[in-house]
Symmetry: C2
């Protein structure tokens, strides 16, 4: 288990009821070292103010969340998605976030292979803009239960395939235990990801047993069936030295007193990560 | 698309509100050719009576559903699961069902690799009993969203691995589009499954967009994002000549007038399978 909180990062959406300024103060006071900023947390206070809040805090900005959603039947909609991603890259740069996480999207009216082709094409057309802004892009493979609309990239193997096909230092992968824990090829695909210098981010939480909602019932580490320390050991064996990012969407936890929830996050991080 | 209903089989759970005798009459009247019997449908009328109902009908009994659930922390519980599976094999034989479908199970308190080992061990210890009763066993890989408790076998690749390791003509695989549609290796794994004579059953339905419930919101063919005709073409190219089994768990459809629902099943089968 981690001996301290120096590699703990929390996503703003994890404590969704808190505005950015409150989240920043609370995380820092709890000893959290990093923050990943969701777009709504930044835009709801305005980007300039969000930048000031982040600059004034000791927290390291780890990533900006989330771009992507490339596939669409319509060429115009795909172009619109690229514009939106360019804007997200600009926002990430404004906030000092070195990484934009990509939830790549899927279009249920077309074959997954076509969606994957559009994803690769979309990412490739963002590389120049990302490079000139100093923002890296991380493909996040999502659990297969999201393959209809959220991500045609469902395994780390697929993410590795695409990242290696793109083959650019601006483009890598975010590994999230929630999406990938079930895959018997996970250890070897993590090793492959690290070996190709594509392992850009590591997200943690847990899979509750039972899970009551396909999106909004994630658990704290130790609360479910994912062996987070084991997967973290694979990630670190693959050379990853970045943050362990707690990203939890949970109606139950959002309904809690968020100070208590943050205390549970740091406890769970020390005991079960 | 299918030109007639001669390969259409319906699972009794699909029309759960109907008792076995009603289901048998309605399916036959609608031109359905096969029936897969869920245990509760048989035991609620008694096995002897269920056998009479099935013998008196023109429907072919395609499979008995469902055994499995092998993994457990406790050796005693694993032995109990084997006893239960032997009883299910007996029941399948009584009903004239040539195949028992296995939902293999998972134990969230242990690594998936250990659950998979227990699954293989469990199936192997059933082979003699299955053989002497003339009942084949079909491993059904389940969607990764069920990897916590329902199945540590989440892909057709894993099912192929286990079936080939067991390597016995009594043991094969049930391919269900709902569980496997998202997998970019599906076509090649179906080909591998057929090549090794392990393709024993083919289940169809659709993945609704959005899906409101992780278990009980399956759709009719054509209603979601699964390309059923394409996957059926792969299954047939792999040599499969058996039934297309409609297996739908749906609170919405169970709440419908079941005669109307059955008409929608045969329509969807003709138009979107």
């Amino acid at each position: 288990m981690p001996t301290d909180l120096s590699k703990l990062c929390v996503h703003t959406i994890t404590t969704k009821p808190w505005s950015l300024d409150v989240a920043v103060d609370k995380y820092a006071a709890a000893g959290v070292a990093g923050i990943s900023v969701w777009q709504d947390a930044a835009t709801s206070v305005g980007l300039t103010q969000a930048r000031r809040i982040l600059e004034a805090s000791p927290l390291e900005v780890v990533s900006y969340v989330r771009g992507g959603f490339f596939p669409n039947h319509s060429r115009e909609e795909r172009a619109r998605a690229l514009d939106k991603n360019r804007q997200l890259i600009d926002e990430a740069a404004t906030l000092g976030a070195p990484l934009l996480v990509l939830v790549c999207g899927a279009e249920p009216r077309q074959p997954l292979a076509e969606s994957r082709r559009q994803i690769q094409e979309g990412i490739e057309s963002l590389i120049d803009h990302a490079t000139s802004n100093g923002v890296k892009l991380a493909i996040e493979p999502l659990h297969p239960m999201y393959a209809d609309t959220r991500s045609a990239i469902s395994t780390l193997g697929q993410a590795n395939d695409i990242a290696e096909a793109i083959d650019h230092p601006q483009v890598g992968i975010a590994v999230d235990v929630y999406h990938l824990w079930w895959d018997d090829r996970l250890e070897q695909e993590i090793a492959r990801c690290g070996k190709n210098d594509n392992l850009y981010a590591f997200h943690i939480c847990d899979w509750k047993v039972p899970t009551s909602d396909m999106l909004l019932d994630r658990g704290l580490m130790g609360e479910g069936c994912i062996d987070v320390p084991l997967i973290r050991s694979w990630v670190e064996a693959a050379g990853f030295r970045g943050y362990n990012e707690v990203e939890i969407f949970s109606n139950d936890y959002w309904a809690m007193e968020q100070d208590d929830f943050l205390a549970r996050i740091t406890d769970a991080y020390r005991a079960h990560s």
